[in-house]
């Protein structure tokens, strides 16, 4: 048993860190977040050259054929660098959905261009009720045409296609198909833009294997949890560095235990989130029987931890942490948006309870 990274996994992680440090430093993050879409075509094609845009997808669709653990590691580094733009929505979310629910022809048509970095896609899930329980969805396709509204759709303005989760299946529509209207929703995370997408008799193509939906969403949820780990890691690094250099009462504030213990707790929360996210990636890769629970555990823990770590980091910084100039609030904003995406901690605790508490009914009777 070895719960560490293999040499090639460590290499991938190190290379990703170097790549984003060079190609997407904080100055670039701040520049992109001020744009309408946070998308940068040059950065995108460099990411495609690295093989990032096809990371977990089969080589027959021009993917890199790597595993879920490798995806987790890449997402962790992207979270650490706070990379803006549609990577998560396009490659991870839409990519996993296409891979799991598309027919071979549909994958050739829609997934392969995403892998090559030539096209972007996204997924429209939430509706006005903002409920991540898919049984609550209202929208459905009538005679191959969609009508209705989807909200909180990430990066829709730069997507070439949109995958729509509907009552009666999983559909894909061209972003410039008739009857589509995409309008921005103004969220607090400027690095990942959200949109409302209206459909009015929009022609939609049904994806062939809708039973893959749950698995695809689990992959996206685990990857998002890993991205959150990266954000926590960077918040911790920035905070520890500050505690070593900022002086009050003639000493670095890191000498005071009240400050040290905040940092120690940030560390505990970050490492624990990392353990859970890595395990979720491994369980998905191995099709372990507890993979779905593992995903919920990772998202549940990271959702609470990323908020708490952000709070502690800003608190240690004092007034400096409350300024626009300091980077912490950018991570804090991303953390809040990620916390609710695919369900917050409360949502996932209920999901864990369904797997673990409800299944124990029969054993309780004999207890």
């Amino acid at each position: 048993m070895q719960f560490g990274l293999s040499d090639s996994q460590q290499l991938l992680k190190d290379n990703a860190r170097k790549f984003f440090a060079a190609e997407c430093p904080m100055a670039q993050v701040r520049r992109l977040m001020e744009t309408d879409t946070a998308y940068d075509a040059a950065l995108w094609s460099k990411m495609a050259e690295q093989g990032f845009t096809g990371i977990i997808f089969p080589e027959e669709y021009d993917g890199a054929g790597l595993g879920k653990v490798e995806l987790i590691l890449l997402m962790e580094e992207m979270g650490r660098a706070l990379v803006p733009g549609p990577f998560f929505s396009s490659v991870v979310l839409a990519g996993a959905l296409l891979d799991a629910t598309g027919s071979p022809e549909q994958k050739k048509k829609y997934l392969a261009p995403v892998c090559r970095g030539e096209a972007r896609s996204t997924a429209a899930i939430l509706e006005a009720g903002a409920n991540w329980d898919l049984a609550s969805l209202q929208i459905s396709a009538s005679k191959g045409k969609l009508t209705g509204e989807k909200l909180f759709v990430p990066d829709a303005a730069v997507a070439d296609s949109i995958i729509v989760i509907a009552r009666d299946g999983v559909f894909i529509v061209d972003a410039d198909a008739p009857g589509i209207e995409i309008t921005p929703m103004t969220g607090m995370d400027f690095t990942r833009k959200l949109y409302a997408v209206q459909f009015a008799g929009t022609p939609a193509e049904k994806l062939g294997a809708p039973s893959g939906l749950a698995k695809a969403l689990d992959i996206a949820t685990a990857a998002l949890s890993a991205e959150m780990v990266g954000g926590m890691q960077r918040t911790l690094e920035i905070t520890v560095e500050y505690a070593k250099t900022r002086k009050q009462f003639g000493k670095p504030i890191g000498v005071f235990q009240a400050v040290q213990h905040q940092c120690a707790d940030m560390y505990l929360e970050t490492e624990s989130s990392r353990s859970a996210a890595y395990y979720a990636g491994w369980a998905l890769e191995e099709h372990a029987p507890d993979a779905a629970v593992a995903v919920s555990i990772a998202k549940m823990y990271a959702s609470d931890a990323c908020r708490t770590v952000g709070n502690r980091g800003i608190q240690v910084h004092g007034g400096m942490g409350f300024t626009w100039e300091n980077d912490l609030h950018l991570y804090y904003r991303r953390a809040k948006a990620s916390e609710t995406m695919f369900g917050d901690a409360t949502f996932h605790r209920e999901r864990i309870a369904r797997f673990t508490v409800d299944s124990a009914t029969s054993s309780a009777k004999s207890a």
């Binding site: 990274l5 120690a264 353990s275 508490v357 009914t361 207890a367």
Partner: protein
């Protein structure tokens, strides 16, 4: 990353499982709730039996009667022992902490003299570290040892000594040089607990039990040949012992916690809240799921820490969070159990209406000590702050 057991690990596990299936005592349930004083001969016999199968000290080198087990195999050992609810071994400090320290620092004569009797439970060992005025700040301890010919004369007091009442020998940390900085004047002595001037008294704790003792030393003569390691190098010897305290033994914890949460889930299906089973109460469900998840994360943190030690030889940063994680989680689980059980939660095992023979009232009180024993949560956070994150020392 590969979380499947290797061929060797599987073989180790299967061999142990087969041995336990054949040798696990059938009558342990008749003994487990009796006071340790009564069950101690039983636990000695169990340890002897384990050693007949070479299972008492799997982490020890083969030449000393162990199996040179890898850390992962040690973790498997403690998990399997917890899985069958095996009795503890009588000489747990000797096997887990003190034996390995003697093997690392002892002379050939010391090893030959002490190690076999640790394994056979013939001689029980205890640890004389903490003092009334030296808890978290262990290095400030005051028990003194003065050289007088070929022996040291020991005077002082130790506290929180497990197994003191039954101990034959004690790994004792004493001050041999009061004129140097506090870490540099310490020495470890191997002390015969039957020596003249050793007085052991029970220390009654808030659960009402006496798991620990106070030990008083008054002009106790200890042969100079009983110094373990070098004179005035006792700090390093003691630290080596404490390092074993955070070893693979923790691997059994997640199974113990898992057993508790499984039982609480079962209870939640039978206890009524607002006219419905508590298991249908959203708040109760949230908490059960939270603890279930944290128990799993505790296991994952441990596995990452073991993998790191196996790969690099040094404990990874994950290791330093384990103590905080399990101790604080254990307290939250027990506090939740009280919430679930309501007024019944307070009933002691002696009350006929107590739930589960009073394990929850006992657990509530006993786990209160978890964030204090084996290094307080505050000390653990200091360790992370300074040694892991590189913040300046606060003291």
């Amino acid at each position: 990353m590969d979380l499947n057991l290797t061929k060797d690990e599987l073989q180790f596990r299967d061999e142990l499982r087969a041995w336990l299936a054949a040798n696990m005592p059938r009558d342990w349930n008749d003994w487990r709730e009796k006071p340790l004083e009564e069950s101690f001969p039983y636990l000695r016999a169990w340890q002897r039996k384990l050693q007949e199968g070479r299972w008492a000290a799997v982490s020890w080198p083969k030449e000393y009667g162990g199996r040179s087990a890898t850390l992962m195999e040690q973790a498997i050992f403690w998990e399997e022992m917890a899985r069958v609810e095996a009795p503890p071994m009588a000489n747990s400090l000797g096997l887990g902490l003190i034996g390995p320290t003697i093997i690392a620092y002892g002379t050939e004569e010391q090893k030959k003299r002490y190690v076999p009797k640790i394994l056979s439970a013939e001689e029980i060992w205890c640890q004389g570290f903490s003092e009334p005025n030296a808890g978290s700040d262990l290095a400030s301890l005051q028990t003194e040892a003065r050289l007088d010919g070929d022996a040291y004369i020991v005077n002082g007091q130790k506290v929180w000594t497990s197994y003191g009442w039954v101990g034959d020998w004690c790994e004792l940390v004493v001050r041999t040089d009061p004129n140097v900085p506090k870490h540099k004047g310490l020495t470890v002595l191997l002390v015969d607990m039957k020596a003249h001037g050793v007085d052991v008294r029970p220390l009654r704790q808030m659960t009402g039990e006496s798991e620990f003792n106070e030990i008083f030393f008054r002009d106790v003569r200890v042969p100079a040949a009983n110094v373990l390691g070098k004179v005035n190098d006792g700090w390093n010897v003691a630290i080596s012992t404490l390092a074993h305290e955070r070893g693979a033994y923790g691997a059994r914890l997640h199974l113990l916690f898992k057993r508790n949460i499984d039982r609480l889930i079962a209870l939640a299906h039978t206890i009524q809240h607002n006219g419905k089973p508590a298991a249908q109460d959203p708040l109760i469900r949230q908490k059960l799921a939270q603890y279930y998840a944290e128990i799993e994360i505790m296991r994952l943190n441990q596995m990452r820490a073991f993998s790191r030690i196996t790969a690099t030889g040094v404990p990874g940063p994950e290791g330093s969070i384990l103590k905080i994680f399990w101790s604080e989680l254990n307290q939250r689980i027990q506090q939740f159990a009280q919430e679930l059980l309501g007024p019944y939660g307070q009933l002691l095992g002696t009350d006929s209406r107590a739930v589960d023979h009073g394990i929850w009232s006992y657990g509530y009180l006993r786990t209160r000590g978890n964030t204090i024993e084996a290094g307080t949560s505050e000390i653990q956070r200091n360790i992370i702050g300074h040694f892991v994150l590189g913040l300046p020392r606060s003291y």
